[in-house]
């Protein structure tokens, strides 16, 4: 199996903020499936209607957009920590979550957790853990940027207080300081390759060398900031170049994310293995991404594209 034939999953990426060029680049780099966790959008929402439209967007239009480029799109639904601090908004959003939780392709409640570790953040984190138990769903936990180690430990404590089975919880945005405790307590341990603030991929190589590949996987968390939607395939290539075995690379860039999220019953390898060739004439011909009358992109082996001509 050559690098070129490897498949990747990016289990955390905010595609609503990305362009169609990113979808094309991800597809070309071997990304077959993405998970879009519900999160904040760079500035706070001021009413729950904004959240309703956002949830509808990630189960609807964004899924459709991704499909158009040959990538399967899944999502998680939840109230993020930052916006949990707006109590009125938070209460209303809690009412919305059950309207989305059972939809197709919703693989977890998330991303939830702590940001500043306020009382309100803890309250809505807990309420959503309760909801996850009630609906028998997985949970994706966002660990805070600041005070990360304490936030991560407290997140796991809270999950256990609510009776969550660690094998049903993904703890994300880990680093060298948190990895051991999270692995030791039996959680899925995710790392975000995000320039500047989270993990760099050379550090990631060292982590896999030290801790191996069991229950560890990587994501890009690419969003509206200076981030890289090719974080997963680039890191996989770097790992191979630095001597990590192909099997381990496959686990951290594909198989472990699949194993973790397929527990939901909503994340199935057949979805992309049996994907029909992309044909925009069949699925997607509205007036936004493809303007009416524009020539549909029909996937063909060895198709010859002339970059200069716009029809």
């Amino acid at each position: 199996m050559s690098f070129e034939s490897m498949m990747f999953i990016d289990p955390h990426v905010h595609m609503v903020s990305r362009t169609t060029d990113d979808y094309v680049a991800m597809k070309n780099a071997g990304v077959v499936a993405v998970i879009e966790p519900a999160f904040w959008i760079g500035q706070p929402r001021t009413n729950s209607g904004s959240m309703l439209d956002y949830f509808s967007w990630i189960v609807g239009w964004e899924r459709f957009r991704a499909q158009q480029f040959g990538i399967r799109h899944y999502c998680t639904i939840g109230l993020n920590a930052k916006e949990s601090n707006n109590e009125k908004l938070a209460d209303e959003v809690m009412e919305l979550i059950p309207r989305y939780a059972a939809k197709e392709g919703v693989v977890a409640i998330g991303e939830i957790g702590y940001d500043d570790m306020t009382k309100l953040e803890e309250r809505y984190f807990g309420l959503q853990l309760e909801l996850a138990k009630k609906f028998d769903m997985l949970v994706l936990v966002h660990t805070p940027h600041r005070n990360k180690k304490e936030g991560t430990l407290r997140s796991m404590d809270l999950c256990e207080d609510y009776g969550m089975d660690p094998s049903k919880v993904i703890i994300d945005h880990n680093n060298e300081e948190t990895v051991k405790a999270v692995l030791d307590r039996g959680y899925w341990t995710a790392f975000t390759i995000y320039p500047g603030t989270k993990m760099g991929n050379e550090r990631m190589v060292e982590i896999v060398k030290e801790y191996g590949s069991e229950r560890i996987f990587i994501d890009s968390a690419a969003d509206w900031g200076d981030s890289d939607p090719l974080g997963v395939p680039k890191t996989a290539r770097l790992m191979l170049e630095r001597g990590i075995s192909k099997e381990d690379v496959r686990k951290v860039s594909y198989q472990n994310a699949l194993d973790a999220y397929s527990q939901s019953g909503q994340f199935n390898e057949e979805d992309w293995l049996n994907r029909p060739l992309i044909d925009q004439t069949q699925t997607y011909n509205g007036n936004t991404v493809l303007r009416g009358g524009s020539k549909p992109f029909i996937e063909k082996k060895g198709s010859d594209k002339d970059d200069l001509i716009i029809e």
Binding site: V59, A102, E104, G105, T281, Y284, T288
Partner: protein, 302 residues
């Protein structure tokens, strides 16, 4: 209960859908649908309605229902013009649950139905719009149906636009015309729009001719189906456009132009048809209809 859409009753429509499901879904899964339906007729909490509606494919799978001719006839016997021939099994399950919930009465049903529409994912939206012909209180669904016509997702647009008798019966002229124009725009076949002939109008004819001019200017193909709704309104104003169609080399395009002329009473008709007597004969001998033109165009362009 208002049931102006039905030839029978909502109970019988439900029973019919259930009988189709019985033949396609394993007993245990069917029991889930039945139990859930009963619950929705009782005193369900809102989240039970929302989550069970979403969860239907987990129980039924997502195969095409492939209704038999007999079953399609049953559909029409329940509700005139109802064509669930392209529905999937989960669509049947979802609409069944909604028809159970309708027992809650008009106000509650319409409010929760709109909430489900608002939060729907792609497959749910398809099921919801396809189901419009069998919901009670159809008069109250006009704005919702018109909203479906605005969808950018072709499958969702098709769910309201194609094989669906509701637009013909309930939508005003403007949204109906939008359906025809948008179907052309997104490449959906016109012959599957219900009521094209009945709803033909001069405004639509003019919009279509202008659209054909735009396509010509851009060097893009014009669907021969476009001329179906232009035919009865051909006059001097459209003569140049018809001449343009008749100057095409593609035989299907020519047939479209000739069919349009045959359906018009324009005084210049015979003169225009003179050079195309072979096509006139073919149409008469083979009894070619607009649906045939649409199907042939779909086959060559699809």
């Amino acid at each position: 209960m208002s049931d102006s859409q039905y030839r029978t009753t909502i109970q019988q429509v439900r029973q019919t859908i259930l009988s189709w499901l019985e033949k396609r879904v394993a007993e245990e899964k069917l029991n889930w649908i039945k139990t859930t339906g009963e619950n929705l007729m009782g005193e369900p909490e809102d989240w039970e309605l929302f989550t069970s509606f979403s969860a239907v494919p987990r129980h039924t799978g997502k195969a095409m229902a492939d209704l038999t001719d007999q079953e399609k006839a049953e559909a029409d016997a329940q509700r005139a013009g109802w064509k669930p021939g392209n529905w999937r099994v989960d669509d049947l399950g979802r609409v069944y649950l909604l028809l159970c919930y309708a027992e809650q009465g008009k106000e509650k049903f319409l409010d929760r139905l709109e909430k489900i529409f608002i939060t729907s994912d792609m497959n749910e939206a398809v099921a919801l719009y396809q189901g419009i012909p069998v919901y009670p209180w159809p008069e109250s669904l006009k704005l919702r149906a018109a909203e479906g016509v605005r969808s950018n997702i072709t499958t969702v647009f098709n769910a309201i636009a194609l094989d669906n008798p509701y637009p013909k019966e309930y939508l005003e002229q403007d949204p109906f015309n939008q359906i025809v124009l948008k179907a052309l725009f997104v490449g959906s076949p016109l012959f599957r729009i219900v009521g094209l002939e009945e709803r033909a109008n001069a405004t639509l004819a003019r919009i279509l001719v202008e659209y054909s001019q735009e396509r010509r200017s851009a060097g893009r193909v014009v669907s021969p189906e476009l001329w179906r709704n232009v035919g009865p309104f051909i006059d001097e104003e459209f003569e140049e456009d018809i001449k343009w169609v008749l100057s095409q080399t593609d035989r299907l395009q020519l047939k479209g132009g000739v069919m349009a002329l045959l359906s018009s009473d324009y005084s210049g008709k015979e003169e225009l048809l003179k050079e195309h007597q072979d096509i006139v004969r073919e149409i008469e001998e083979k009894n070619i209809t607009w649906d045939d033109i649409g199907k042939e165009f779909e086959a060559v362009s699809g």
